[in-house]
């Protein structure tokens, strides 16, 4: 367990030492989204009978959690691989389970720290409610864990920074932006509503938002089931890669 806690603490320390880039910058970005979208749309749009700015805040918080959890594990691994310092983690007797758990937990912590930061700065712009806080916590943890796991896969798979950027720009960004962060899927044409149901991020955002307002596009239990299944599947896949030493051990 000492090895696990050390790797976890090292990963947290790594992003904390450059907190301006890893925490403050994404909080500012989320606030800019809120200012622009709420200024344009708040007077005209209500979703589930919730003012648009209030509707937007949970989406931005969750999007920040997901993107930063992914960024943490993926950037740490690719950087270690490119510089060669990954050897310091591969030489000691750290089990592949501890390796996975430490990277994912640290990624979730960064996601949650950024998410909390976004919530704190946007709280003053919208009348938020906290109807079901447990759902908020559960979806935040699962979302951070799932994207942290996806970050481990991307970090292991990518050999170069541009491959990781492609993973981030062509998979993670579209999945998060087209998941209902900025809208309810009921405002989409039927075809795109159906497409949205194949996006696991949609369920994370929708379940997370349910925790604030007690209303959602679909049942939070359905969202929870989808997110749990995705998390378990991704975790099992990642553990299998790590056990094989895929792209880590020759």
């Amino acid at each position: 367990m000492i090895a696990f806690w050390t790797l976890f603490a090292k990963e947290v320390l790594r992003f904390w030492k450059v907190g301006f880039q890893t925490v403050a910058a994404p909080v500012l970005t989320a606030m800019l989204y809120l200012l622009i979208f709420s200024h344009v749309l708040d007077a005209h749009v209500r979703v589930h009978d919730v003012p648009y700015t209030a509707f937007l805040v949970p989406g931005l918080v969750m999007m920040s959690i997901l993107q930063n959890a992914f960024a943490n594990s993926s950037s740490s691994l690719i950087q270690s691989k490119v510089t060669g310092s990954i050897v310091f983690v591969l030489l000691p007797p750290i089990s592949y389970r501890a390796f996975w758990a430490a990277y994912v937990l640290a990624a979730a912590v960064r996601g949650l720290v950024v998410g909390l930061g976004v919530l704190c700065v946007t709280y003053w712009f919208a009348a938020l409610r906290f109807e079901a806080p447990l759902w908020i916590i559960v979806f935040a943890l699962l979302g951070g864990g799932l994207l942290g796991t996806l970050g481990v896969i991307a970090g292991i798979w990518a050999d170069k920074f541009d491959q990781l950027a492609a993973f981030q720009n062509f998979l993670i960004m579209p999945l998060t932006f087209l998941s209902g962060v900025f809208y309810s899927i009921h405002s989409l044409p039927p075809f795109w509503q159906q497409v949205s149901h194949f996006n696991p991020v949609f369920y994370m955002i929708d379940g997370f938002r349910y925790g604030f307002f007690g209303v959602s596009d679909i049942s939070p239990w359905t969202s929870l089931a989808v997110v749990v299944v995705c998390f378990v599947a991704m975790a099992a896949f990642t553990l299998a890669l790590l056990k094989r030493g895929y792209k880590l051990r020759m």
Partner: protein, 242 residues
């Protein structure tokens, strides 16, 4: 019965069409100062990678003090300290943080006294709080040595430990390594500085194209060619050309 520090049996490893290791058999006794020599591409680093669990052999087994590096990897890795050839470091941390983190990876907490001793012996005490990025190449090399020693491994592998290190630092490093060897640590050294191998190692293996082509005590290797007094470099060249 004495268990060897390292036992390598029939180890082979291919990278595509390249035969990096071609059935290597080798035993290194406990407490030896052993040299592993060979030209670039001979398979030294691949062999060390397989020993350290960074590479998986296609066939054969490797044991560190009786523990298989694949099936009993956790015990084997605890017994092994490896100084990698590349000058790698984590730019986020200071020297002391780097060593404390490395101790934690091996399941050790409260290791400060030993870390202080290593820092002192490697002349790094003044740099303990310095970020790794700010160190010279020689200093970074010594931190790599320190990282390999934080868990007091009985078997220490040094892969080109003095590459890019100035003469003064090199002498200090060898004094420390010799002391570790006198204290009972097994040392395995790869180097291109053959005079260092000649002066430090009691026994030497020479590798070529993934095979061990010469294995003997240093004294015997120097007398390998009857009627001639040669230094290790001359012996090495002849063995490689034979």
């Amino acid at each position: 019965m004495n268990i060897p520090a390292i036992r390598i049996s029939g180890v082979a490893k291919h990278f595509g069409a390249v035969r990096a290791l071609d059935g290597v058999d080798l035993e290194i006794g406990s407490g030896e100062f052993f040299g592993l020599l060979g030209p670039n591409g001979a398979g030294k680093t691949t062999l060390i990678s397989a020993l350290a669990g960074l590479a998986r052999p296609d066939r054969g087994t490797i044991e560190v003090i009786g523990h298989d590096v694949q099936t009993d990897y956790r015990a084997a890795r605890r017994l092994l300290g490896v100084v990698p050839q590349e000058l790698v470091f984590d730019p986020f941390f200071s020297v002391r943080e780097t060593l404390k983190i490395q101790s934690g990876y091996f399941g050790i907490r409260g290791n400060d006294d030993w870390i202080d001793e290593i820092l002192h012996n490697l002349d790094l005490t003044a740099k303990a709080g310095a970020n790794m990025r700010t160190l010279s190449g020689g200093m970074k090399r010594r931190v790599l040595v320190a990282q390999a020693l934080v868990h007091r491994p009985p078997v220490i592998v040094l892969d080109e430990p003095t590459a890019g290190v100035d003469v003064e630092l090199r002498q200090g490093l060898w004094r420390f390594i010799r002391r570790l060897n006198e204290d009972g640590h097994t040392i395995v050294l790869t180097t291109h500085y053959l005079e260092e191998a000649e002066s430090q190692c009691g026994r030497i293996a020479m590798m070529k194209a993934g095979r061990i082509v010469a294995l003997d005590t240093t004294a015997n290797l120097l007398q390998r060619f009857v009627g001639e007094t040669l230094n290790l470099e001359e012996v090495f060249v002849r063995v490689m050309n034979s």
